[in-house]
């Protein structure tokens, strides 16, 4: 350890990893994956793992990935809710692992929901 920069680097790196223990909800983005039996059967687990990989790859310290139960629309599983601070939640349906990087890049990083994946588009 020779400088503040080295210390800062460790700090930033570790903060990303323990950020989910923070109590301040106003700054975190929450990705919630439906993981009831229906979700898991439809392939929600690889989707969730993809979200975790993608957020780690991009070093998104303010994102938590968590799971929830069944909300009743089992035919649309795997479903993923994304909560950006201060915004309405956006629900993605029939999510596949290959869709994840686009959702993270366009929605979570740039704030533009991927309309064609959302429940609104699916139910038209």
């Amino acid at each position: 350890m020779k400088s503040l920069a080295e210390l800062q680097a460790i700090r930033e790196k570790t903060l990303n990893r323990i950020n989910l223990r923070k109590e301040d909800e106003n700054e975190t983005v929450r990705i919630v994956v439906g993981m009831a039996t229906c979700g898991i059967a439809a392939g929600a687990r690889p989707v969730m793992l993809s979200f975790m990989e993608e957020t780690e790859k991009r070093g998104l310290g303010n994102v938590t990935v968590s799971q929830t139960g069944c909300i009743g629309m089992c035919r649309l599983e795997p479903m993923v809710d994304v909560y950006l601070p201060g915004q309405e939640k956006v629900t993605y349906v029939h999510v596949k692992p290959e869709m994840v990087s686009r959702i993270v890049a366009e929605h979570i990083v740039n704030g533009r929901p991927v309309e064609e994946y959302t429940i609104g588009a699916a139910e038209k």
Partner: protein
């Protein structure tokens, strides 16, 4: 360390460990692996969360769900429900004693126990993994050391501590900055920094919790202190009875070495600093600074007269700066956030916060940290959750064997160094033992004196002989053999010991007697004159009698081990007081509340 979607924080403090948290962690790891979640969920052993009453404590993030009193059997359910399916296990979620509210979601700070607290010294306890230096660094760890070494002169560091008004948290309340300054001013080829982790007060365990939950904070602070006073070596004196604390401190020191945060040329400066651990055998007197230093040197732990003060001639006859664990835990924060930030908390003469170990007759046994000046009532009722079983509050003992008992009239006393001394007690290291109407104050004084008699090192006569004579008088009183003039004899002895004992142990040993005499003199008088214990506690002064509520069910006579109860069916029974052992078995058994102690 990878990114996980959930963290399971299990308390690994001594309290929760003794109620089985180590087995919990094992079970969690096993079940999580069975469910194939090991890449998603991480189990972390943390330090003490403070709410030991509810232990073992488990917190699951990101939801922040606070599970309490978790048993090994419960782990399967938490894994299969919460971690796998994302459904909280409601019946295991912590419920507040007073409001019966469950902690719904996120934020421990919504729980009454934490709402009134301000965690500075305990800020990382229960939050980080104490065996992972990266987590400490993530929470601004070692930033203060970097700031002190590269951006501040030694004088500026000392000035900042002086300005903060930080006072010794180990008991005396001596201004920490002054201690640093005195040692800085001493000229010598070698100086030492030492840390007093020989926490000896019965019931106090904040130093243990800090070492267990945030050991790096103490290491960082000692390095800062070493820089400020010009010492290249430090000693942590910790009792061998704290194995978890010792182990974590060892791990932390090794990690700090690996990162170059201890050792030679820290942060590329010419400052070098190293730490050693010395284990104490647990003698109370070794918490006294001169005795502690003798013990580190490998000699018998006995105090020596001051002056010379340690700042002039301490460890190995070199200038030494000794602070307590909790005092050190405040230092990095003060350097990082500034003295002004610290001064905003607390009262005029006592700045910052203080950790208290709540124990005795109180609902939320545990560790709490509040700003100085918080009234006793807030600590005992709002945070501590009040007295169990609807009993009435009688007194609170602060300061351990050196402190005193404060009665209900003083519950609104704002807690700081000077107010407690004015009230006839002292801060001590922060033990706080709550007593209810069933506690006999004479017996409490006897208990504490028994402790000091045991722990007296025997070097000086006032402490060795004087405290024993006091104990003998107290034992006589609680056995109903008290005589007229005993109170005066106690007062006379107490004042003599206070004035003449060699060290703090002896000088403060009479305090429990003096303070109970001050506030509960009538209890002493009742014991001596009427041969009665008003709290119905002292066995020798008690009589069990059966009142006319008795229905003659014969249960009591069957349970009495001494055969002291006689009477026939459906007739009032009678206790032969000569045979009665006063074991209380009959009271527990009686369904009509007919048996009373008088």
């Amino acid at each position: 360390m990878e990114i996980y979607r959930a963290h399971v924080l299990c308390c690994g403090g001594t309290g929760c460990t003794s109620s089985g948290s180590a087995q919990l962690i094992e079970r969690f790891e096993q079940k999580i692996a069975e469910a194939g979640l090991e890449k998603e969920v991480k189990v972390i052993r943390t330090g003490c969360f403070g709410l030991c009453e509810a232990g073992p404590v488990v917190i699951v993030y990101p939801e922040g769900t606070f599970y309490s009193r978790v048993r090994v059997e419960d782990v399967d359910e938490i894994v299969s429900e919460h971690l796998l399916k994302g459904r909280k296990v409601q019946h295991l979620v912590y419920t507040d004693h007073a409001s019966h509210e469950q902690n719904a979601n996120k934020s421990l700070n919504d729980i009454n126990f934490y709402k009134h607290q301000k965690r500075v010294a305990l800020r990382n306890c229960g939050v980080i993994d104490p065996e992972n230096i990266d987590e400490y660094i993530a929470f601004d760890g070692y930033m203060a050391l970097e700031k002190a070494l590269t951006k501040m002169t030694r004088e500026e560091v000392i000035d900042e501590i002086l300005k903060s008004g930080l006072r010794g948290r180990g008991g005396g309340g001596f201004p920490t900055g002054l201690k640093w300054k005195f040692t800085y001013n001493s000229q010598a080829d070698q100086k030492y920094v030492a840390c007093n982790a020989d926490e000896g007060d019965p019931g106090a365990f904040m130093d243990r919790s800090i070492l267990e939950g945030d050991p790096h904070a103490v290491i960082e602070a000692m390095a800062i202190a070493g820089y400020a006073i010009g010492a290249s070596e430090g000693y942590v004196y910790v009792r061998a009875e704290y194995p978890i604390a010792v182990k974590r401190l060892e791990i932390a020191i090794n990690q700090a070495h690996e990162y170059g945060l201890l050792g030679k040329n820290i942060f590329g400066t010419d400052f070098s600093f190293d730490l050693k651990i010395r284990l104490g055998a647990g003698a109370f007197v070794c918490g006294e600074e001169t005795a502690l230093m003798r013990s580190i040197e490998g000699k018998r732990g006995e105090p020596t007269p001051r002056p010379p003060f340690p700042a002039v001639k301490g460890l190995f006859a070199k200038p030494t700066m000794l602070n307590n664990v909790e005092t050190y835990a405040n230092v990095p924060q003060i350097i990082l956030k500034g003295a002004d930030w610290f001064c905003e908390m607390g009262t005029e003469k006592s700045k910052g916060t203080k950790v208290f170990a709540l124990g005795g007759k109180i609902n939320n046994t545990g560790l709490v940290e509040v700003p100085m000046g918080t009234p006793l009532r807030t600590i005992i009722y709002d945070i501590g959750g009040g007295i169990p079983n609807g009993k009435a509050f009688k007194a609170v003992q602060t300061g351990g064997p050196s402190g005193g008992c404060l009665p209900a009239e003083l519950l609104d006393t704002p807690v700081d160094y000077d107010n407690l001394i004015a009230a006839g007690s002292m801060m001590g290291s922060g033990g706080m033992i709550v007593m209810d109407e069933d506690n006999c104050m004479v017996d409490i004084a006897r208990f504490f004196l028994d402790f000091t008699v045991d722990e007296s090192c025997g070097k000086c006569a006032p402490c060795r002989i004087g405290t024993r004579r006091m104990l003998e008088i107290l034992e006589r009183i609680v056995e109903g053999k008290g005589e007229e003039g005993d109170i005066e004899k106690l007062e006379n002895l107490a004042n003599t010991i206070k004035a003449t004992a060699l060290c703090g142990l002896g000088q403060t040993a009479p305090n429990p007697v003096l303070s109970t005499l001050k506030f509960f003199r009538h209890e002493y008088e009742a014991h001596i004159k009427e041969k009665k214990c008003p709290a119905h506690h002292c066995q020798k002064l008690l009589q069990y009698v059966i009142t006319d509520k008795c229905r003659g069910c014969t249960l009591c006579s069957k349970i009495c081990p001494a055969g002291a109860i006689t009477g026939s069916v459906k007739e009032m029974h009678h206790i032969d007081t000569a045979k009665c052992l006063k074991c209380g078995a009959c009271i527990e058994k009686c369904r009509f509340g007919a048996i009373v102690k008088i």
